[in-house]
């Protein structure tokens, strides 16, 4: 920049400046060309932005369609209609009609017997075992409840819809290619043949799969349901809410309204901001070490899950509540204080009610996050295989996202649709919660 310096020397001399430049001819073709180019660049830049958004939305759409297209079939399941002779000799030889006696009866054998009757040409042991796969092992439980509710069935012959095995369900839904090589599919040619005979008889039908919503987990895809996980999620969220909401709101009120500007307050604020960004799995390690190893609380329990998630949700609730409290104009506080209300009264009578919609919105969003959280719960053992629906906060349980993780890991083809369907249910809950939060925000939106 040496010439620059000399240039400056010249310029620094006093005297009225003259413009050495010719005036710009704004209508010259040069300028016109340049402006055209600049507008081109502008359009391109705008397009990059639009493309970016469209790409993100397209990815979202792909995600949605891939899950819905894989999962919608899970809400219906293949049932097979079979003529069942409710053999008194098998079920209740002494005609006691005692539920305890009926409960002990071998309904599994009954179904197998009737299957053999339906396919009299099947004889070999291994062939028969293949035949039995047509009907799910869970069908016997359905039959048992049916007879227990209605003992008059004993001795009758009825056509009954029985739940099919998962592989035949997949075959019926077209996920298993009936025409392909025998070795490349899970069903033998003979099994496909029997099933096609049943189809030809009109004895195969897809029915609404209630069990998916009411059942607990199972190793058999056709028997697995999300109710156990949903209840586990419910208990976990209740614990999370009961802990994080009062504590979070109290902390926010303290920090916003009472806390003096000192090192303690500063420390709390720094900690809240950092906790909000700590990876969730680290909270899982904390839960494992403190709640399980140190306090010996029960493993896999919603109580521990809720305690862990409460710590994670706390920063979200505190930050949202502080924002809501801050938005209440100081004039309202001054008015209350001016009437002789104490600080606590001002806060409880005026500030909190006015901030409540905002606080609730933040809480619901925090709860939605907690509902979708998986990683920390893996650490505290909520990943166990649990068939029973939990009856309390200390029973072993799993939650919806962990159930999704477990099913996604299962090798059976039928679990793919179960997983997708469970995701649809989970997303449904999340949409409901977030929708409610948006509704609250819209309804109570206030311009001060």
């Amino acid at each position: 920049m040496t010439d620059m310096a000399s240039l400056m020397e010249d310029r620094a001399k006093p005297g009225t400046p003259k413009d050495p430049r010719k005036p710009v001819n704004w209508d010259s073709p040069d300028i016109a060309r340049r402006i055209k180019k600049r507008y081109g660049a502008d359009r391109r830049f705008k397009m990059y932005g639009l493309v970016a958004i469209l790409m993100a939305l397209a990815a979202l759409l792909t995600l949605g369609t891939s899950i819905v297209s894989k999962g919608y079939t899970a809400f219906f399941h293949t049932y097979v209609e079979l003529e069942i002779f409710f053999d008194p000799a098998e079920i209740d030889p002494d005609r006691t009609n005692d539920p305890a006696v009926i409960g002990r009866a071998n309904f599994d054998g009954l179904i197998k017997q009737n299957l053999r009757n339906h396919f009299p040409d099947v004889t070999g042991r291994s062939e028969l075992r293949q035949l039995y796969d047509v009907i799910s092992g869970g069908a016997s439980y359905d039959l048992r409840t049916r007879v227990m509710e209605n003992p008059s069935l004993i001795g009758e012959t009825r056509k009954v819809w029985l739940i099919s095995g998962d592989d035949f369900d997949m075959l019926n839904k077209g996920f298993i290619d009936a025409g392909g090589e025998e070795a490349s599919r899970r069903l033998s040619d003979a099994q496909v043949g029997w099933f096609q005979r049943l189809v030809a008889d009109g004895a195969v039908e897809k029915q609404f799969h209630k069990r998916f919503f009411t059942g607990g987990d199972s190793r058999e895809p056709e028997l697995a349901g999300i109710w156990g996980a949903a209840v586990g999620s419910f208990y976990t969220l209740i614990i999370t809410l009961l802990l994080s909401f009062p504590i979070g709101v109290a902390a926010a009120v303290y920090l916003e309204e009472f806390a003096p500007r000192n090192r303690f307050t500063y420390l709390v604020e720094v900690n809240i901001n950092n906790l909000a960004a700590v990876p969730s799995i680290v909270f899982g390690l904390l839960g494992l070490e403190v709640y399980l190893n140190l306090m010996h609380l029960p493993r896999s329990a919603p109580l521990v899950g809720g305690l862990t998630l409460a710590l994670m949700t706390l920063p979200t609730i505190i930050i949202a509540s502080r924002a809501a409290i801050k938005a209440v104009p100081p004039s309202i506080r001054q008015a209350a204080l001016g009437l002789g209300a104490s600080k606590v009264q001002t806060v409880t009578h005026h500030v909190l009610p006015l901030a409540m919609p905002g606080i609730l919105t933040g809480t619901i969003i925090g709860m939605a996050q907690a509902l979708g959280e998986t990683a920390p719960l893996l650490m505290i053992g909520m990943v166990a295989f649990i068939v029973d629906v939990p009856g309390g906060v200390t029973d072993p349980a799993t939650v919806l996202p962990v159930q999704i993780y477990l099913w996604a890991d299962s090798p059976e083809r039928a679990f793919v649709e179960k997983t997708s369907a469970a995701i649809m249910v989970l997303l449904g809950f999340l949409i409901l919660m977030n929708g409610f939060a948006v509704y609250l925000r819209k309804k109570f939106e206030r311009k001060w």
Partner: protein, 460 residues
């Protein structure tokens, strides 16, 4: 004696105390409440607090230590042959636990000392819960009597109540500190155990990771290898891929939303983008493993490339998708804070929109954007479910996005899901990894928040 019952009992006691306290104040006032210093309600709340808080405190402390103390008592009575080996001990304790709850039918043939201990455990547990009720009720009654007798006409019940409320609120906000302390201590405690077995240098700079220790000591590789560099490389590779997706897409989305989009378009597209942030990570993991990974593999094989079915690319792409709204909303915030006067200055000189954005707004917002990207990196490093479901387990040291790599979080999950043995380096190493993860993300966050904060101050 369930926790629910105890809490209900405390609530009932509180209600009773409230009633007593209020009655006494009303009685003292002689019918005119203005004779009292505070409203009768305040006296009621005062006694209720004095009754409920000690009881609650007792229950919490009891639950915190009961398990540890009872276990110590049981262990003390077990024969040395069982307690000397930690593995055996935990097995024995498990059996004892089952026996005490009457669920140990399959353990009928267990050693007599175990059955004995099981019975003792059941006994201790019932004693403990009985004692808890007695102690809790005593505490509550003492509090009630103490506060009841303190009530006079001139007692400043409201001020007392408010002081207690303020203290409680302070304790609530201190929980934020306690969580951090809890995290640091639980990670440090187990990590230090780990470092007595494996040298920290080997852990931090070792190039091989294979934590599967053999069951028998004479098997090959019975020691396992705990070098975390391969995990770190894998984490960085996937994070890098994620950032390659999230930063440009997020940034350009934010620019378009903030500067170009019509209000109508924004009203639709912005919430739609935010949906991406609300989708649970386990869903992304499923998407990555079942849709994206096979797609990439098929495309790769069409091109003659050998793509692993658990490629880093699939996990990274989907993670990037997850982080897009994070980057876009943070940088949108930052760019909208650039004052209008700067835009006016640029438009007033005849700059086009893109020139203004590129030459004025973006440079002015750059520090804030860097902070946002750092926060996003920390998010990606700590993300667990996507990589658990879509990335591999083998600790390969590679920069090839088509191969399988593993990450720190994947290893933590793998090591801790299933059997945990808190005496083996294998289980403990998860905590050491957790500590490293915590420190790295903490560092990134502190640094990023500092930048963003400084930036905010500049334009406030």
């Amino acid at each position: 004696m369930s926790l629910t019952f105890l809490l209900l009992a405390i609530a009932l006691l509180c209600a009773l105390s409230f009633f007593f306290g209020r009655q006494r104040a009303v009685g003292l006032s002689g019918g005119r409440y203005s004779n009292l210093h505070s409203l009768p309600v305040h006296y009621g709340v005062y006694t209720a607090l004095w009754c409920g808080l000690p009881a609650l405190f007792i229950v919490m402390v009891w639950y915190g230590f009961q398990g540890t103390i009872i276990q110590a008592l049981i262990v003390a009575d077990l024969p040395d042959s069982l307690t000397s080996d930690p593995g055996q001990l935990s097995l024995a304790l498990n059996s004892i636990g089952l026996l005490s709850e009457g669920r140990g039918a399959h353990l009928a043939g267990a050693a007599p000392e175990l059955i004995d201990a099981g019975r003792r455990l059941a006994n201790l547990k019932s004693i403990a819960s009985g004692a808890l009720v007695v102690v809790m009720v005593c505490g509550a009654l003492l509090g009630l009597i103490f506060s009841y007798r303190k009530i006079t006409k001139d007692m400043r019940a409201r001020n007392n109540v408010e002081r207690i409320a303020r203290g409680l609120m302070m304790i609530c906000s201190a929980i934020a500190i306690l969580s951090t302390v809890g995290i640091v201590f639980s990670l440090m405690f187990e990590s230090l155990q780990f470092f007595t077995k494996i040298s920290p240098l080997d852990f931090l700079f070792g190039l091989e990771w294979s934590p599967q220790t053999a069951i028998r000591a004479d098997q090959v590789a019975s020691e396992g290898a705990f070098g975390m560099i391969p995990l770190f490389v894998g984490t960085l590779l996937i994070t890098f891929i994620a950032m390659c997706v999230a930063v440009p897409v997020g940034l350009f989305s934010a620019i378009y939303m903030g500067e170009y989009a019509s209000p109508k378009f924004r009203a639709v597209a912005k919430p739609a983008l935010e949906i991406l942030a609300g989708v649970p990570t386990v869903v992304y993991g499923f998407f990555a493993a079942l849709t994206v990974a096979p797609f990439i593999r098929n495309q790769g094989s069409l091109l003659g490339l050998d793509v692993s079915s658990e490629s880093a690319l699939a996990a990274g792409l989907v993670m990037g998708l997850m982080i897009i709204p994070f980057v876009s909303s943070l940088s949108d915030d930052v760019m909208s804070q650039v004052p209008q006067s700067l835009r006016d200055g640029s438009y007033g000189l005849g700059a086009t929109k893109s020139e203004t954005i590129r030459n004025v707004i973006f440079p002015a917002a750059l520090p804030g954007i860097v902070g946002a990207v750092l926060l996003a990196v920390s998010r990606a490093v700590g993300e667990t479910m996507i990589v658990v479901m879509a990335a591999g387990l083998a600790a390969n040291m590679t920069a090839n996005p088509l191969q399988a790599v593993t990450t720190v979080t994947v290893q933590i999950v793998t090591l801790l899901v299933g059997d945990q043995e808190f005496d083996s380096a294998k289980t403990l190493s998860a905590f050491a990894l957790g500590l490293v993860l915590f420190l790295v993300t903490l560092g990134l966050n502190v640094f990023a928040l500092k930048i963003v904060k400084k930036y905010r101050e500049k334009y406030d």
